[in-house]
């Protein structure tokens, strides 16, 4: 049997195939991520190249030829004549990039702190976990806004727009590490008392080696589940921040920025400018979240 056939036969793949929700969510995620990654190839226009923009194309309705230029845009255009479909593809790139990076950052930070607090214990544990508890009492978006504000204050003015994306990643990542740390710490507390860890200690392995080589591989499955669900939350957090105007700059609009731009035209009848980015955001967040839910059930041995 080839490796692929074996994987296809595994219980994991089987439970995936049996769950229509998981299959549909997976397809939606793959299509959306693929569209975002290959945006420059797919998008009919480059919405950020002023040379290709024609103000005359502004406010074109979806699927209808523009009254002045006769051009047709699938999902219409915004006030500056940018193709909504293309802006969504590019916006999704930003949203996904920020989401993935923030979760990766939160995951690495949370894993390291979770392993250390769980394995070492003592004062290190008390201090780090108290910070985590305090942070949990505030809504994540508030923490992210606070960190975003502080970090922006430290960025030189001329770099602010350039750095905005990175500051956003830092802010969302820092607001989300607690979940990872708590789960990893809990799993570490269990694993460190298992006898294989004792066996490693016995032969004189150092704590760092035990944490990294022995414990980490055994605490990864809950981390993966949280990472998936966090990804959905991070995408929404980014959209929220951008919607509030403290996230991605207008020069690099994310889905949230697009929604913010679009809501200005909602009451003047240009519904497509806000609707399509919003639906995309919804589809993306929902399918990632549902995929995470399925993953949690599939990896939970008690529900097998």
């Amino acid at each position: 049997m080839s490796a692929f056939a074996r994987a296809w036969q595994s219980d994991f793949a089987w439970s995936f195939r049996r769950s229509p929700v998981a299959v549909v969510s997976f397809i939606v995620v793959v299509v959306l991520v693929g569209a975002a990654v290959f945006a420059p190839l797919i998008a009919p226009y480059d919405p950020f190249d002023p040379a290709t923009l024609n103000l005359m194309n502004g406010f074109s309705k979806p699927m209808e030829p523009n009254a002045f230029t006769g051009e047709t845009f699938w999902l219409g255009t915004d006030d500056q004549g940018r193709d909504v479909f293309s802006t969504i593809l590019y916006g999704m790139r930003i949203s996904l990039f920020v989401g993935f990076s923030a979760v990766l950052f939160a995951m690495v930070l949370g894993i390291v702190l979770g392993l250390v607090t769980g394995y070492v214990g003592g004062w290190t544990e008390t201090i780090i976990m108290r910070i985590a508890d305090v942070q949990l009492t505030f809504p994540a978006i508030l923490v992210a806004m606070l960190i975003f504000g502080v970090a922006k204050g430290f960025t030189p003015v001329h770099l602010r727009d350039e750095m905005a994306i990175w500051v956003l990643i830092l802010a969302i990542g820092l607001s989300d590490w607690v979940q990872f740390a708590r789960v990893v710490r809990g799993a570490t507390l269990v694993e460190k008392n298992k006898e294989y860890t004792q066996a490693a200690k016995l032969i004189g392995r150092r704590p760092a080696a035990i944490m990294f080589w022995h414990i980490l591989p055994n605490v990864m499955s809950p981390v993966l589940v949280i990472a998936t669900i966090s990804l959905a939350l991070a995408i929404i957090a980014e959209a929220t921040l951008s919607f509030l105007g403290v996230g991605a700059p207008p020069t690099q609009p994310s889905l949230g920025t697009l929604i913010r731009i679009g809501q200005g035209f909602l009451f003047s009848g240009e519904w497509w400018i806000i609707l399509f980015p919003a639906v995309t955001l919804l589809a993306l967040a929902l399918s990632v979240n549902l995929l995470g839910d399925w993953l949690r059930d599939a990896l939970n041995p008690r529900l097998r």
């Binding site: 298992k194 006898e195 294989y196 004792q198 066996a199 016995l202 032969i203 004189g204 022995h214 055994n218």
Partner: protein, 320 residues
Amino acid sequence: MSALVSVRNLTRIFDVSKPWLNRLIERLPRALLKAVHDVSFEIEEKTIYGLVGESGSGKSTIGKMIVGLLPPTDGSVEVGGVNLFTEADPARVAKTRSDIQMIFQDPYASLNPRWRVRAIIEEPVTVLGGDTGGLAERLLEQVGLSASDAGKYPHEFSGGQRQRICVARALASKPKLLVCDEPTSALDVSVQAQVLNLMSDLQEELGLTYLLISHDLTVVQHMATKVGVLYLGRLVEEAPREDLFTSPKHPYTRMLLEAAPRLDGFGRQVDPPRGEIPDPINPPSGCAFHPRCPLAVDRCKSEPPQMRDIGQTRVACHMA
């Protein structure tokens, strides 16, 4: 014959108090648990020393202190003349560490589920930077598995096979002393027989010394050369196997032997032992066994008995 392991006045106290804030508010004193209390014994080279006791007897704690996983509160452990916790020379520490290995109770928890068998078995040698070419394959065959098992993961094996893998890992660094903490308690009888036979064979072949920790008297009776009986962290009796099982001196040992189920005990009317194991945080005064002891006199309540030699037996009882 010389002693490979010498345990002197070993004591271990655990702080099981609540956090200090709770203690302050609830006006509780510090709670100290004396898991091991002034235990001394020696293990001769190439013998099997059996340590028996019920829960709370401190037998596993002693095992952990001997392998160096847990520092003693008081007293000392020397293996081959080296005390792992006070030895200054790192080379001697490393050498002694590789002389001591352990086999654990739960074969499901003692192998890292994410590692391949080869890596698991070779780890004790890898960590010392030794040569591991073909080592795992050779050891697997020695413990009755096949060389091709080296590439598999632990979940592909049954409990008994996993325990064989644990034995293979323990042998990798060519140790002198194997501390076996309830090595067969999690196994079925027929599998237990396979593992015990393997342990006997290896001991003869390689000249190993075992410390066999178990609650199961039958296993200890079958394997051990010398047996120590623990009660509430204290060594109450130590004797060569034959002496202990034919003429136990301490009333606790007698009670244990009497209470153990027997294969020919059809319809046996045992007088079940009195009482239960006391709370180790507040052990009884004097001899810890006196509240359950059929022989207890007033002296037992106040004066802790000292170890005495009676023939080849050492026993801590006023009445023995």
